[in-house]
């Protein structure tokens, strides 16, 4: 078994975002790995962008941290200029601009989730190439392969908060 400790840190990850009838619920695991070694078993992959918008990070740890730092900074300026909280759509678009324009150099998949007064709870998935897709629920990360079938069967419209949380908890337990 080759423990390549110099490999860039990736976040072999499961991230999930689900809308429910009052907002959104985001979930993520907490493992950061370098090759076969667990570099951090308590990492926080759900990062705050503004008071009302959070992002789940997956892929390269460095790339996703840098992108979310830039977007947090842009959103802070935007909030000051706008005079009211930024919308989830704007946050998702700012991330998309960075992800798409630097697609050759970045390797990170993100799920943006939040609540604003115009559209309510929204989830936007931004996978590797820089597409932005608004979805009622989104899954991402290498661990998400196991969840496509699960969510096909388990997800339904207008869940309550408890149902959404339970579905996320169950899916995190999948191998």
């Amino acid at each position: 078994m080759d423990l390549n400790l110099d490999a860039p840190h990736s976040m072999g990850t499961t991230i999930i975002g689900v809308t429910y009838n009052g907002g959104v619920v985001l979930g993520a695991d907490s493992r950061t790995s370098t090759g076969m070694y667990v570099a951090n078993r308590a990492s926080d992959k759900i990062t705050q962008l503004t008071d009302n918008v959070y992002v789940c990070r997956s892929g390269s740890a460095a790339d996703s941290q840098v992108v979310s730092d830039y977007v947090r900074y842009f959103l802070h300026q935007h909030t000051i200029q706008l005079g009211q909280p930024a919308t989830v759509k704007v946050s998702a678009n700012l991330i998309r601009m960075l992800a798409y324009n630097n697609k050759n150099m970045l390797q990170t998949g993100l799920i943006v989730g939040g609540w604003d007064k115009y559209e309510g709870g929204k989830i936007y998935g931004i996978p590797l190439g820089g597409t932005v897709v608004e979805q009622p629920f989104a899954i991402g990360g290498s661990g998400s392969s196991y969840l496509y079938g699960f969510f096909d069967q388990a997800w339904k419209e207008n869940m309550t908060k408890e149902e959404a949380e339970v579905s996320i908890l169950i899916s995190m337990l999948m191998p």
Partner: protein, 273 residues
């Protein structure tokens, strides 16, 4: 004369051209010169009153020990220290650079440096070099917002943890921490645990060895315990001493003090119209 293409000036930032050339040469069979790596076990933990950092003192150049007692705990600010693993030149250079930037920042703001400032400066630098600056750091300090401990990886990602290990001996040291760490350790318990973790790296990892260095940072105070423990003393020293053969000549040392150079300026005449 044929028109040659206009040379586009470089847009600034790091030029990766030499990296491509190096890759091409290694593919052709040329062996790259080996770096002075600090193999290394470096650790940090947060205890009741602050942060304790620990490091071993062996620097390796491939299979050879280049420095048996090097310093891996670098000064960043009076209240912030940083342990470095990876290529020795990279860790020295990057910590010195950020230490200078922090000092200028202190002069400008009139406040003590914060750990998160050092963290952001380091991660921005390392990310922009895309992992080619091979510095893996454990950054710890106590500032106005409390004690902080962070790890920074060569690609620019950071983690914030209550206890952390880096370097080739990190697995050995982490096993000690995972078994024995708990919150609210006292200063002596913390130092004992850090020394144990570094020793575990020293004895079980070939890239780490020699002595244990420890640095304890608390609010308003820091203690740099260089060579806190020396578990690998040199046990045999020749009792006969060293003697030089007769043909070796010891030259006399004569120190001639330099004459002070005195310049006499003549008082010029005042200019008159």
């Amino acid at each position: 004369m044929s028109q040659t293409a206009v040379d586009v000036p470089p847009k600034g930032g790091f030029s990766f051209d030499l990296c491509k050339r190096n890759d091409m040469l290694t593919q052709k069979g040329l062996k790259a010169p080996s770096f002075l790596k600090t193999g290394t076990t470096i650790v940090g933990l947060i205890f009741k009153d602050g942060v304790i950092l620990g490091a071993d003192t062996r620097a390796t150049e491939g299979p050879i020990v280049a420095d048996k007692n090097c310093e891996k705990i670098h000064y960043m600010a009076p209240n912030i220290y940083c342990c470095g693993a990876g290529t020795a030149a990279d860790t020295e250079a990057v910590t010195d650079m950020v230490s200078s930037q922090l000092r200028l920042h202190r002069y400008q703001t009139g406040r003590d440096s914060r750990v998160i400032t050092a963290l952001t400066l380091l991660k921005k630098h390392l990310f922009s070099y895309q992992g080619h600056v091979s510095a893996a750091l454990v950054l710890g300090g106590v500032d106005i917002t409390g004690p902080h401990l962070h790890t920074i990886y060569p690609h620019g990602s950071t983690d914030t943890l209550p206890f952390a290990t880096m370097g080739s001996g990190s697995l050995a040291a982490m096993s000690v921490f995972e078994a024995k760490y708990k919150e609210g350790l006292t200063r002596d318990e913390g130092i004992k645990l850090v020394a144990e973790a570094i020793c575990s790296g020293i004895f079980n990892d070939l890239g780490s060895g020699s002595n244990v260095d420890i640095c304890v940072i608390t609010k308003g105070n820091k203690e740099y315990l260089r060579n806190y423990m020396e578990p690998n003393p040199r046990t045999y020293v020749s009792s006969k001493g060293y003697s030089f053969t007769k043909k070796t000549e010891v030259l006399l040392t004569k120190i001639t003090p330099l004459l002070e150079r005195v310049e006499i300026t003549e008082v010029g005449e005042a200019m008159e119209e």
